[in-house]
């Protein structure tokens, strides 16, 4: 059993970051549901999590003067949603689709949160020896 504090939450730590990132993108799709020419965007959550598993994708800062960059969103390759129906103003947002995706994403976020909470409470009970 690996008990390093870094890997305490497993994939859920990263999952929460990308879930909130996705929520933001879906939110901008919905806010721009009536903007002419706006193209709905999204990313494939599964493939993003898969790229995180390959350790070569990460860059470490070994010196405090190294120019740091935000590594987490870099892996996200955003795609354009394929519209189900064409609209006259070039907008590809389907509010209902975005709503469903947003709700699903929120549920998955809560699931990850639940896992993190479960981990914390099980570690706490192990520490207390109850």
């Amino acid at each position: 059993m690996t008990t390093t504090i870094d890997s305490l939450f497993g994939v859920h730590e990263q999952a929460l970051i990308y879930r909130s990132k996705r929520a933001e993108i879906l939110a901008s799709n919905m806010a721009n549901a009536d903007t002419p020419g706006y193209k709905a965007r999204d990313f494939d959550f599964k493939s993003v999590l898969n790229t995180l598993k390959t350790p070569s994708a990460r860059v470490d800062q070994t010196h405090h003067q190294h120019i740091g960059f935000d590594q987490t969103p870099a892996a996200v390759s955003l795609a354009y949603r394929i519209p189900t129906s064409a609209s006259l103003d070039g907008n590809t947002v389907d509010a209902k689709v975005e709503q469903a995706q947003y709700a699903e994403n929120a549920m998955d976020y809560q699931t990850s949160l639940r896992f993190v909470n479960g981990k914390i409470s099980s570690y706490l009970s192990a520490l207390r020896g109850e």
Binding site: L16, I17, S20, K21, A23, E24, I25, A27, S28, M30, A31, N32, A33, D34, T35, P36, Y38, R41, F69, D70, P73, A74, L78, A95, Q99, Y102, A103, A106, Y109, Q110, L113, V116, N117, I120, S121
Partner: protein, 140 residues
């Protein structure tokens, strides 16, 4: 934290839809305003929405999160309704009055669409708020 940006995005959406609703209200209220020349007649007004890139400056990578803003208000170019009504107090020398080019049916549909979009933004904001509240309760 990306979830905080949702407040900005949903807020911008709500404010844009409010502008749209205001213009619909203005159009409908003035639908029967009569004037005696084409220059003075009220014309239907519509907002023009445009996407704004979030955190353009702070972040160098491509950020897809976009809020919305009203980039301008345009007046409808549709022809005004001209009526021959010599007994009307606003009639011009030739006996014509001019009525606005407001299409009431169009405005009603526009109003429903705007209020639906407004509701969507509110729901979105509520969900983001719930998620954040649960997040700050981690480990409790």
């Amino acid at each position: 934290m990306s979830l905080y940006n949702i407040f900005d995005i949903a807020g911008s959406g709500m404010s844009a839809q409010t502008t749209r609703l205001n213009l619909v209200a203005s159009n409908m209220a003035n639908a029967d305003t009569v004037s005696s020349s084409t220059g003075e007649t009220y014309r239907a007004r519509q907002p023009v929405f445009a996407a704004v890139l979030q955190n353009e400056v702070s972040s160098h990578q491509q950020s897809a999160a976009k809020s919305v803003r009203v980039s301008g208000v345009v007046e409808s170019q549709a022809p005004l309704r001209q009526e021959f009504a010599p007994q009307h107090p606003m009639a011009n020398d030739e006996g014509y009055i001019f009525k606005p080019n407001v299409n009431i049916v169009e405005e009603m549909a526009n109003m429903m669409s705007a209020s639906q979009s407004y509701k969507n933004n509110v729901e979105m904001l509520n969900t983001a708020k719930q998620l954040l509240q649960q997040t700050i309760k981690i480990g409790q």
